[in-house]
Symmetry: C2
Amino acid sequence: MSSTQPPINFTRGVPADESYPLEQVADCAGSVLTGKYGTLSMQYGSSLGFLPLREWLAAQHNVTPDHVMLGNGSLQLVDFLAHGLLEPGDLVLVESPTYDRTLTLLRRAGARVQGIPLESDGPDIAALEALLQQATPKLIYLITDFQNPSGVTTSLRKRQRIVELAEQYGFGLIEDAPYRPLRYRGQAIPTLHELAPKRTLHMSSFTKQISPGVRVGYMVGEPARIKQLAKVAEDTYIAPNVLGQAIVYEFCDRGLLEPQLERLRKLYGARLEAIGAALRAELPEARWIEPDGGFFLSVWLPQGVSNAELRQRAAEVKLNLTDGRAFFPNANDGDRFLRLPFCALTADQIKEGVRRLASIAG
Amino acid sequence: MSSTQPPINFTRGVPADESYPLEQVADCAGSVLTGKYGTLSMQYGSSLGFLPLREWLAAQHNVTPDHVMLGNGSLQLVDFLAHGLLEPGDLVLVESPTYDRTLTLLRRAGARVQGIPLESDGPDIAALEALLQQATPKLIYLITDFQNPSGVTTSLRKRQRIVELAEQYGFGLIEDAPYRPLRYRGQAIPTLHELAPKRTLHMSSFTKQISPGVRVGYMVGEPARIKQLAKVAEDTYIAPNVLGQAIVYEFCDRGLLEPQLERLRKLYGARLEAIGAALRAELPEARWIEPDGGFFLSVWLPQGVSNAELRQRAAEVKLNLTDGRAFFPNANDGDRFLRLPFCALTADQIKEGVRRLASIAG
């Protein structure tokens, strides 16, 4: 490997720099600030967020605006959930693997976290039922569409069963669905929120749809629950970033979101094809989960190859990988797990990255 | 009182709607999004915040940029402090009265909070020394300039003594100074951070200087401490609202901040004159603290008049008042305390508001 060759980063799951609709956002910002919402976008707002955007989202989700709360990105909403709904010692179940930052926040709030092994069509239901025999959790946190980090989408049958179990045992469902609008093939599956609106807090954000920089996440759920979480939000930051929310509203209200999503599906869909093709060509014996959307594909390394070893060898060929262990409630379960975010790399970078991966793990 | 007369709100301490430089902010937003920082302002950033603004602030405070962290408003930075620096049961001293939202966050983090009675020139030093005889606090939280809610500015002599005590007993100082640039008369006094840079975390924000809607607060302190708090921030929200920070940077870099502050000092200074004149005319026997800047003037009600009674009578004359008790670590200490925010009211509204107050409390 030439020392001048640039590194390939299969690390953070961020949108592609070239995906941002800069001119459109600039134009929306100008309209907001010099238009009828100018002063409102500069003043303190409600901790629930900018009302016109809440109304727009409510219409999308077939609910009234009192079901919708906005925040500075959706991770912070997880923190509000942890503050507002959990007591130290409360049991929360998550998929294993799951989003590492949620694990951190749940643990910071003092929750006991247990993992439900994830299969290629969603959580292992037999394992979930066995866990429920032992103790009833307060909440189950699930990333149902194109999961971070695995890429798994939970099947309709499993979603229905999870909802039945929630009714039977009386626990709440947190559905984190930021990747849902980014489906590159196949048909959308009903959300947990559509199947069980009273039991589910559904979360998403504009981070993957427009930009992380606007910092707008949201949550849809029962009004009493939303009100309780809005109080936590008010205590924490008085009001969220109203200007960013007003800009996002203007973007949506002008009908710019769906064309933007179409562009993203085309851009990222081609990259998903590229990583699938590269894996089939370079690492045909590997076991991987190829998603139908989102940002992540995941690979299970062959028996005997550990994450630490692999990342060390990867660094030598200028390939940066994330430690898969961080995504597992029990870190050791992730020793052979590798998350490959494919959206912020070009097809050529993906091909070269998988080639380097094969050269050290093949 | 005519039922058609509009209410007067002496409640929230928010900037005046007419203070926002909408056209300038719009122009800055356009430049950021279509200029060299466009992509950077849309992508995830560092949890420390947008580097050019950190550099700009570092120069203002005579420190290097690793001393500066940005957040989504300064209240959230108080939450990070509480998470990062306090263990449940830790003792924190605050002025009595103090900012009610800080009390909420300190208590949410499990801190024990004790109040130092506030005099017209700052904390009662003898009372502070007596408290220090009993137990050493982890932190003292002080609002040194034009305090919320009282309007008090701590004298140089008291600042020096507080710094000496911090050295002697080994506690940290949190200096919350969002109103400091809004001095309408008299001379600025050195900050605690200037007197004791290694012991002090100095906080401020652009909320009162440009707008709450941009949601940009900041903290200046020792790099090791800043790094520790940036980790708490990353765990909580990955990155703050980079777009708002980039817009504020553009505003500052263009030299627009000082003229904006001059406009605010003129606008709000006249309102401070108006409320002083109204009190002297309408409530000459009342005891009040008239500040030299900031948003708040405070009144002590005559013996025998309670907050609850007064607010009930006030509602009858369409005067909305805040419950003074919320600002005191021991709520009962605030039964006769009244905070009057004067910046978001016109001189006529102020005059009419004080007239109504006199009609029920005189």
